[in-house]
Amino acid sequence: MNFVHDHLLTALVFLPLVGASIALAFPRGEHTGVRGFAMAVSLADLALAVTAWARFEPQAGLQFVESAAWVPAFGIRYMVGLDGIALLMVLLTTFMAPLVVLSTYSSIATRTREFMVCLLLLQTCMLGGFVATDMFLFFTFWECTLIPAYFLIGIWGGRRRVHAALKFFLYTITGSLLMFVAIMYTVWSVADAGGMTFSWPEVAERLSHTELGDVEIWLFLAFALAFAIKVPLFPLHSWLPDAYAEAPTPATVILSGVLAKLGAFGFLRYALWLFPHTAAAFLPTLGILAVIGIIYGALVATVQFDAKRLIAYASLSHMGFIMLGIVAMTVTGLSGSALQMVNHGVATGALFLLVGVIYERRRTREMADLGGIAQVMPLYAATFVWLALSTMGLPGLAGFVGEFLILLGTFSSEGLAVSSTTGDVARAAIILAAAVVVLAIGILAANVARHGSKGVLGGSSKLLALAVATCLLLGLLAPPMGPLGGGLLVQPLLQVADSQLPFHEIYGLLAMVALLGIVLSAVYMLQAIQRIFFGPIRHPENEHLLDLSVRECCLFAPFVVLTVVIGMHPQPFLNIVQPTAEQYTRQFRLRAGMPPEQAHPLVGRADARLDAADPQVPLPAVRRGLPPTGNPLQELVAPRRQPHLRAPGRNQ
């Protein structure tokens, strides 16, 4: 056990790989044994992750660090380490893995051995991506995720699986290969007399005193593109509905629950962290894209007929929240994002599994083929509604905590108007993004109107969708009334183009529009619940559906429990994340030349502490204690007592 104690992360990452190679030795066509074996491996991995959690010290920066030379000629090292956010992601991954294996007992009937091998390989690659601190190692794991994911979608997927798998692969690899070049360029340009290094903290340190000039924009964009595709950020999401809908249920759960988080995590850790100065200028643009994603995903979800596609678009919408929290670059927003990554993984994953359950019973995912099944499957209906409520952000459940923290963090964020080439490019991007949003909403409204006229949509949903679209259009086109009223998006954006509007007002706007996304999520979720569960049973096949079995209850119980635990008592999770988030935010703002995060009037965080930060210690790699943080629960509780929708920018 000494090895495991000293090399905890290595053991954690490579245990599934060892498991996969042993699983290959199982006889062909074997099912039960190999499932049991995969279950045992993933539970052992979970135990290792929990051990890491127990030994983790929130204030201590990167921990469990291991470092060994790998390719000396290129300065590539095998380096792993864990900070708060990475730990949370590792916990999420290892938590999902056994449940996914449990779900395969009914959903995967062919080539079980190969399925388990792919699943375990994917787990190794994802865990490796979260713990790697060498950029080459990270990229290796990041690319390696594609191999098992490709096979999972392509072999066990639905009717259009080959197309979906290929699309997923090509989208990701295009972004990744550009990032690959960007990594090499970055590493080469900061190589010094000591040679090249791919170590992430070291590269960031060297970058902070290297002037790259305009190339930095391209480097940042290459990194951002790769991660934005994986998340996915609007408008790079078009692989998502195909991949999520065609993949077999367990693979969809992994793709949406964990793999997408690797994108968001990479965005924070690499794209933003390495190039803070450029990133700062692009943050508002990214925020706008995230918000477009929120609204777009939600609107498209409202018009889906297929339950799995509905959840896929809902997932897109919720990933927008996560990105919004990240680009706000405030402690609150970042902590919320990290927590929301877990919430989203848990709740969306569970919803995909629930859709899978009904698919196994009825071989259909069309909501029109269901209806009224709450009468025959009460347990199933209760579980579904419970988890749906969590994604909608019902106070007391997990989704609320994350989304609330994100919105709060976004409201309190303020950026910095950059005047340089970077700033000009960023402004152009904002205007482009604005044009895209107008176009997207227009197309959507037209589509809704077309479908509505054909009578495909139900009366109430048609009205609802039209009302939403009209509101948005009015918001876009109405004449401006004051700085924020009317012309909700276009007017302020035009002002951005003239450098009239400081960026922090944009964040206020973004948060407000994102709020609309929460409203919309209630619309499509409740609409779906109504269509699936309530009303009369219209199809005779549905009259004798079996309710959740004992195994399925065991499968969903952890999800339900976790949503309650995080919703009611998020403190342990926030404790892990908070110091890391603070470190990221403070260092990012320092290095980007942004003003330090202003003390939030609702959260008593002293400015003095931010000023005291030592600019010479910019990296989490440096083990050091941080001053104790404010009570994060305070941030949650306090706003409920006070009117919290203060006008953005008033604290200027």
Partner: protein, 501 residues
């Protein structure tokens, strides 16, 4: 006794030539019945041990040695790229045993010709004089013409051999013509004209090269670019790859490429590396190679997407890979000190393993009694599940060629692109990355067919111990040298540390 010392340095060449002669003698020896092939095992053994010995000897390289009054040099380039060529020959013979038996082709002659081609490749890799290089090029080309037409009964094979021969003769003529002009230019620039590459480098570096000399350089370059099948001299590749017997195709795609790049690197370093003043400085000439590299990467990958036949697809893929290696050549000519040459050697080493492996898998599905001669991608439908080992191996090779970690294809691209970036040509790396993404499309299509499509009935496959061994060697090189790149990279760097062209 310098002559003995000189001969000792050339041990790998003697080993291979001797083995080729021995095999030819064995095939006419009494007791060797050609239809029954009783002696075939011995032939395989002789060929394999000669190639293994040659590879081992090349791997023992320590420090450059010039022999035969400087006409031949055993240096890092010869050790690395020559080693890749002999390794390619080794795997070719491993894989061809089963194929030759299946298709009832003569074994002895095939092995002997492969060995002689290897001799030619080693001569190219070690040539320090243009004339010696030309002899090597001709030697390996003649051997390959024969191999291309080895299935004499098939019209397609005849077409391949004829086409390859005619185009190849043109390329040789170009090289000879270019050499003549360079020789004339040397006469103008120096007192004692010669085709020694070192002297050419020295003469070209310190004088204005006339238009005639530049034309000569361009002609020789064109001839060498033909051998490595890069755009715009790639037209022959798809037809020849398709018609040649699969082991010969594999050998052509790897061994010839390794030797061709060895010649190209030497020649480019001697002429372009020192600056060609006559045609506007070295920048222009490097730009020409850069354009060739970009065109090869783009056209090779784009044309491969449309191919139905798997061997044609791999032919275009090999054109694309020639483009990637040319990226390294551009970097090499600009900044030889920045690790471009080890990157080229590593990439060709990994590429050889992956390509030979991919052709081995294809070959395994080419049954003699199969009425259809062409192996289309569709024919592999569902084969990955029927034959898990073949499928897994093909997955390794396809992901490797697509440049996905943890394979040599990935690390090779890293090394090449880093060399390009450090030579101040990041645009080549960007083009390389984008075309790799396009390349992923057709490599993955093969895997999609293997694993994700319903099978149309089993046509069987060729099975033998040797074929399995070839697959194992290729797959382990692809993965092990990908996960632990310094295993080969370290050797290449040590060998090429003092190499200056």
């Amino acid at each position: 006794m310098t002559i003995l010392h000189d001969l000792a340095v050339l041990t790998p060449i003697w080993l291979l030539a001797g083995a080729a002669g021995l095999i030819l003698l064995l095939t006419v020896a009494p007791g060797y019945h050609r239809p029954g092939l009783e002696g075939a095992g011995h032939l395989t053994f002789v060929a394999l041990s000669a190639l293994a010995g040659a590879t081992w000897f090349l791997g023992q390289f320590d420090g450059p040695v010039r022999v035969f009054s400087g006409a031949i040099v055993f240096d890092g380039l010869g050790a690395t790229l020559g080693g890749v060529a002999t390794l390619a020959g080794f795997i070719t013979i491993l894989m061809s045993t089963a194929y030759l038996q299946e298709h009832k082709l003569a074994q002895g002659e095939f092995y002997a010709i492969v060995l002689l081609a290897c001799v030619g490749m080693l001569i190219v890799a070690m040539a320090a004089d243009l004339l010696v290089m030309f002899i090597g090029v001709e030697m390996m080309s003649l051997a390959m013409y024969v191999l291309a037409g080895f299935r004499r009964g098939l019209r397609r094979a005849q077409e391949a051999a004829f086409k390859y021969f005619v185009y190849g003769a043109f390329a040789s003529a170009f090289i000879v013509f270019g050499m003549a002009q360079i020789f004339g230019e040397m006469g103008r620039l120096t007192a004692s004209p010669s085709l020694d590459l070192q002297r050419i480098a020295a003469a070209f570096a310190h004088a204005d090269v006339s238009a005639m000399g530049c034309l000569g350089v361009a002609f020789v370059l064109a001839g060498l670019l033909f051998k490595i099948a890069s755009v715009p001299f790639h037209m022959w590749a798809p037809d020849v790859y398709e018609g040649a017997p699969t082991p010969a195709t594999a050998f052509m795609a790897t061994g010839i490429k390794a030797a061709g790049f060895a010649g190209l690197c030497r020649f480019a370093m001697a002429t372009l590396g020192q600056g060609l003043h006559g045609i506007g400085g070295d920048e222009t000439s490097v730009q020409v190679i850069e354009a060739v590299a970009i065109a090869s990467m783009v056209l090779g990958n784009l044309l491969a997407i449309r191919q139905v036949q798997i061997k044609r697809m791999l032919a275009y893929s090999s054109i694309a890979h020639a483009g990637y290696v040319l990226v390294g050549v551009v970097a090499l000519v600009g900044h030889p000190e920045r690790g471009a040459m080890p990157a080229i050697a590593y990439y060709l080493f990994g590429y050889a393993a992956m390509t030979l492996g991919a052709f081995t898998v294809i070959m395994a599905f080419e049954r003699r009694d199969d009425p259809r001669v062409d192996l289309t991608v569709d024919r592999l439908a569902g084969a990955g599940h029927r034959y898990p080992a073949l499928g897994l191996a093909m997955a390794v090779f396809m992901f490797g060629l697509a440049g996905i970690p943890p394979t040599t294809g990935f690390f090779g691209k890293l090394a090449l692109f880093t060399a390009a970036i450090s030579a101040g040509r990041p645009e080549l790396a960007v083009v390389g990355a984008l075309t790799s993404a396009a390349g992923a499309y057709y490599y993955l299509r093969v895997l999609a067919t293997l694993y994700m499509q319903p099978t149309h009935g089993d046509e069987g496959r060729i099975h033998s111990f040797w074929l399995g061994a070839a697959l194992w060697v290729c797959a382990s090189i692809t993965v092990v040298a990908g996960v632990l790149p310094h295993t080969y990279m370290g050797f290449a760097e040590r060998a090429l540390a003092s190499w200056k062209g």
